[in-house]
Amino acid sequence: MCTYTTEKIDITGSGKGAAGWFALSDATVYFDHPVHAMAEHTLNIDFRNPGKGPAARVAVELTAESARALVAAIEAALAAVPTLVG
């Protein structure tokens, strides 16, 4: 299926794309057909800054298992430094 699902969030931070570092303004997250990964469906994240054009994008396509492992790793990393991120 082509799921068409898209979660969109505002974010603050930076990403490194094809033309170097740039400030990020939003991220879209969706589970759908990948462009490059060899899987039927992947969890895709686009870290973007539309104000700087379509190429201001850092993209990842992860298998569902990898995406869940990433979520757990992020949570674990943040939990280790609660006073810094509270």
């Binding site: 898209t6 462009v35 899987a39 686009d46 973007r48």
Partner: protein, 249 residues
């Protein structure tokens, strides 16, 4: 023996609202004086190399084919994946704009030397719904819907996609419709395509639907894991047969 020579190039066409947009054109170098034409509507991943191959495939089989870059306005000159990500985040292509762009492409094809005036449309994924939309909005000669969702069922709540069901437009369908679907697809699922078929039956609109076992969404995509050669090969045969009947002189 035919030479099978063709010419393919990027051109500019006038689309919705008179906007100048990029498009990919492929024309057989066969000197034919009465050939049919096809507007190719790219899939949601965009105006990409695999869909340009499809445009050339039509030319290799005797049709002039033209694919408008539906994402050109948001992302001129961007790579297809960046353009698709941009348009996905903003909810997709508006229906009225799509119709205007297909109208511009069809007009361009009819104006080409060797055109017999007949124009078909074919679309993949989101383009499947858009092919139906175009055929219900414009005077065309044959339409092919490859696994287009949201013709009958609404977009699930919470998604940013602006597409709305358009089955109510079926009464205005201007030409025969060929539908090619995967039995394992969820969008559109077989119950949705059966509902569309029933609606067309009720209206007496000519259509032929084929649903392939063992195939899901995007089974024509040769560069993706979703590719299913058995379904795709038969699907192409259906397309040649269908266009042969309705786009020939």
């Amino acid at each position: 023996m035919t030479s099978e020579a063709l010419t393919a190039s990027t051109i500019t066409i006038s689309g919705y609202g008179g906007d100048e947009i990029e498009a990919y054109l492929a024309v057989p170098d066969d000197g034919a004086s009465a050939r049919g034409s096809v507007v190719v509507i790219h899939h949601m991943p965009g105006y990409d190399t695999s869909t340009k191959e499809i445009v050339r495939k039509f030319a290799a089989n005797g049709y002039a084919a033209l694919m408008p870059n539906l994402y050109y306005r948001e992302a001129p000159g961007a790579s297809p994946d960046d353009a698709a990500a941009t348009v996905r985040a903003t909810g997709g292509v508006p229906d009225d704009r799509l119709v205007g762009d297909v109208a511009g492409a069809a007009g361009k094809l009819r104006s080409l030397p060797g055109s017999n005036g007949k124009v078909g449309v074919i679309g993949y994924c989101s383009g499947g719904r858009q092919s139906f939309l175009a055929a219900c909005s414009l005077e065309l000669d044959a339409a092919v819907d490859c696994y287009g969702a949201f013709i009958v069922k609404p977009v699930p709540e919470g998604l940013p996609l602006k597409a709305k069901p358009i089955v109510s437009m079926a009464k205005d369908l201007s030409c025969p419709l060929l539908g090619l679907f995967g039995a394992e697809d969820k969008m559109p699922a077989p119950d949705e395509t059966a509902e569309l078929s029933a609606a067309l039956d009720e209206l007496g609109k000519p259509h032929e639907f084929h649903t392939y076992e063992g195939a899901g969404h995007s089974f024509f995509s040769v560069d993706r894991v979703a590719y299913r050669p058995e379904a795709a090969n038969d699907g192409w045969q259906q397309i040649w047969d269908f266009y042969g009947r309705y786009l020939s002189r």
